[in-house]
């Protein structure tokens, strides 16, 4: 939500695991994804399929993800339709990149951390933070 003003010049579609959160912020056309993590294999599979469906329906040129696993699946699905993909690791990960953040070093076009000390000179970059 902190990035929303930045995105208002573009045709944006939000995907979230929590529709009430989107509605609280006045977003009525958000796509919903089932929440999942590495301990919920069936929901993870379902989430991946829904992510593909959402991406095929919306055909984005760009996919931005701030995490976590559901966002990562959207990013992967985005690659299937030729989108440019950017992973923005959560500012909550100040000790190390999240698991999906590490995966996106290789799978996303760009990978951002919000902590300077977690950037390397190569695939993980620091370009500011929401705080």
């Amino acid at each position: 939500m902190l990035l929303r003003d930045t995105l208002e010049n573009y045709d944006v579609r939000f995907a979230t695991t929590d529709l009430t959160f989107a509605q609280q912020h006045g977003i009525t056309n958000a796509e919903t994804l089932p929440d999942c993590n590495r301990n919920t294999p069936l929901r993870t599979l379902l989430c991946a399929l829904v992510a593909i469906k959402v991406i095929l329906k919306n055909r984005p040129n760009i996919v931005l993800s701030t995490g976590a696993a559901p966002g990562y699946f959207c990013l992967l699905a985005g690659r299937l339709v030729g989108a440019r993909t950017l992973w923005i690791d959560s500012v909550a990960n100040g000790e190390e990149l999240s698991m999906c953040g590490k995966l996106s070093k290789r799978t996303a076009h760009e990978c951002l951390t919000q902590w300077r000390h977690l950037a390397d000179q190569d695939s993980v970059k620091y370009r500011g933070a929401v705080l």
Partner: protein
């Protein structure tokens, strides 16, 4: 009202106890979310946890938030434009699995609306300072502006 929160995953009795001791001096209610701690406060209106909507309502009602150095709470405080006093968990006192909260407050030092206390003895002064803050800047921090520009750059050019 002062809202004290320490997250839901771990107890943080050192902060709850220190706040319980000094709470009568503030002349206002202190509502506390005490998580998994075992200390039973006398002077705080304490509950282990609050539902998300209740939690946000308390943040909104509060004049100052006192919290462990959890990023989630810092973001919430920023969203509601409330001053927040951070008291980091310490590894040497068994309050977390490492010292990342100490590192977090070092990074956040000097940001608008954020106060830091490293020791219990600093709480009274920092709280007075926090309660005296009339407004917390709504403007994006320089690092947030930088991040937004990087994202626009990515959208426009496809790279950072």
């Amino acid at each position: 009202m002062i809202f004290l929160t320490i997250g839901t995953q771990l107890g943080f009795d050192r902060l709850i106890e220190a706040m319980d001791r000094i709470a009568p001096s503030f002349g206002m209610d202190v509502i506390a979310q005490t998580g998994k701690g075992s200390y039973k406060p006398q002077n705080l209106e304490a509950r282990a946890s609050f539902a998300p909507a209740e939690f946000e309502a308390l943040i909104e009602r509060s004049k100052l938030i006192v919290s462990h150095a959890g990023i989630g709470t810092v973001l919430t405080a920023q969203r509601f434009q409330k001053p927040i006093l951070l008291f980091p968990r310490r590894f040497d006192k068994g309050e977390h699995r490492n010292d990342h909260q100490v590192a977090t407050v070092r990074h956040l030092q000097g940001r608008s609306g954020i106060l830091i206390a490293m020791e219990e003895s600093e709480l009274v002064d920092r709280i007075a300072q926090g309660l005296a803050m009339t407004s917390v800047g709504t403007e994006l921090s320089p690092t947030a502006k930088q991040l937004c520009q990087a994202i626009v750059g990515f959208i426009e050019q496809g790279r950072l």
